[in-house]
């Protein structure tokens, strides 16, 4: 037995043992917190998984398979125009960085053989915030306002931070590695508008299936709400048409998949979730038995689901245990949270962005955690500050960034992110007050 290596496990077991030994099971705060954790998990399961997360996984999977990365990367190459490079770097995270594990290789690639430090930093910063899954879940759970502010804030500030980094380190011209970029092969020959229309139908299904009931009982929004399943259905039929004409899926397969959906829609019109689930299952089966391209779409969708769902379940459980649902308390008393990040003071914003920068958020878990914090009195400004500083940075990924661009640049980058997040949180807080 190699005890120089085993001690870590021993320590872990000891910590868990002590926690279990002294667990305050009989206190009402603890019992409440456990209950809150399960309540929150059930709420996520009922409200967010079927209609929101599953279509979002299909969209993320489609992006990973059907968006031609080479066509995006040519704007981030060594010869690219600077202005274009910054613009593309700040938004391309939405199609390139669909998974957190792809951000770092792309970052170091852009830095070392592409457009250089500024655009690389812009990409690194914006990537996690503009990725589709993050935007969808943020807007859905935390509100459209915060979701949009997060995406726009991340894009704008990524350019600012990138330009600042380039200015600060303009004297150090890094030696470029002169290697050919190796790109994955592009998909089949579909034109841009065909792909665009295809993504639009997917987005349409997602948006209208999740159309929330508006406050008033009349007006355009309410009419759309009443017709949301009809509109979702029309988009689904559109998706079917696209699949048969451009993806060469056999029409009779889609028709067979459509039969159970139609039956469930007519028999149980009050429970559209059943028809929707039948649709998801039908689509999956059709894709599974399809050609290369369709199978790849399903594979990468499944990859996302497999990676993200366990993390999210764990994140929701922890957030529920520590923070409780909105308006309820978990293990951590609300006053503590309120005194640290309540209101919209500069200090609260700074604290939120500083803590967010060093804390590690597994993909998407920032959403339930933030929801808990807001429910306990966190201000909207500090919430945005945390969203802007958090997912882009964590202690472990700072170490990787340091190995790519050195200690000095990393410290400057982290400081810039914290300062920018603090300021933008402060401004957002003032606007939304």
């Amino acid at each position: 037995m190699d005890w120089t290596r085993e001690w870590k496990k021993l320590l872990l077991i000891a910590v868990i043992f002590l926690a279990a030994y002294f667990m305050p099971v009989e206190t009402s705060r603890f019992q409440n917190a456990v209950l809150e954790a399960f309540q929150l998990v059930r709420w996520y399961a009922r409200e967010h998984v079927l209609l929101c997360l599953i279509p979002a996984f299909f969209i993320a999977g489609a992006i990973a398979v059907f968006v031609n990365q080479a066509s995006v990367m040519k704007y981030l190459g060594a010869q690219a125009k600077k202005v274009v490079a910054y613009g593309v770097a700040s938004v391309s995270g939405s199609v390139l960085a669909v998974c957190s594990c792809t951000v770092l290789p792309l970052f170091s690639g852009i830095y070392k053989m592409g457009a250089g430090l500024g655009p690389a930093v812009a990409f690194l910063y914006a990537g996690p915030a503009v990725n589709v899954l993050a935007i969808i879940l943020t807007a859905r759970v935390l509100g459209l306002e915060l979701g949009v502010a997060r995406a726009i804030g991340a894009v704008v500030f990524s350019v600012v931070i990138g330009v600042l980094m380039q200015l600060i380190f303009r004297k150090e011209e890094t030696e470029r590695q002169n290697v050919q970029m190796a790109m994955p092969e592009s998909g089949e020959g579909r034109s841009l508008w065909q792909n665009g229309l295809y993504f639009l139908t997917l987005a349409g299904i997602l948006i209208f299936a999740n159309w929330a009931k508006p406050a008033q009982d009349s007006g355009v929004w309410h009419t759309i709400y009443q017709m949301k399943w009809l509109i979702t259905g029309i988009f689904s039929v559109g998706l079917g048409a696209i699949l048969t004409t451009w993806f060469k899926v056999k029409w009779w397969k889609l028709l067979m998949a459509a039969v159970p959906i139609a039956i469930l829609a007519f028999v149980l019109p009050s429970q559209p979730v059943f028809a929707f689930s039948a649709g998801v299952i039908g689509l999956s089966v059709v894709l599974m038995r399809g050609e290369d391209e369709e199978r790849e779409w399903l594979d990468s969708t499944w990859d996302f689901a497999k990676q993200i769902l366990p993390l999210l379940l764990f994140g929701v459980l922890i957030a529920g245990l520590l923070l409780g649902r909105v308006g309820k308390e978990g293990l951590i008393p609300s006053e503590w949270i309120y005194s640290a990040v309540g209101g919209n003071g500069l200090l609260a914003n700074f604290f939120a962005s500083f803590a967010g920068a060093f804390m590690y958020f597994a993909t998407l878990t920032e959403v339930p955690i933030l929801q808990g914090l807001i429910g306990n009195g966190m201000g909207k400004g500090p919430a945005l500050a945390l969203l802007l500083a958090g997912p882009a940075l964590s202690l472990p990924n700072m170490l990787v960034i340091r190995s790519v661009m050195g200690t000095k640049k990393t410290i400057v980058f982290v400081s810039l992110v914290i300062v920018m997040a603090t300021i933008s949180g402060y401004i957002f807080g003032l606007i939304t007050l």
Partner: protein
Amino acid sequence: MKIKVLGSNCVKCDNLLKNTRQAVEQLGLGIEVNKEIELDKIVSYGVMTIPALVINEKVVSVGKALAVDKIIELIKAAE
């Protein structure tokens, strides 16, 4: 023949490594396949989307967790 997988600890990367090892075993090549996780080295191959498969220092596939028979095909093509 030298075969390498470039990647981190992501699911796809581990799948590619596993499938590549299986392919090498099926072909009876008797060589060891390792994973390169150092970002600097990965980028020096021009690869920005992991996982990637490298045969004889040449990148043959990027961003995909290839199936075993596809890897066998690529190895045979490189011979």
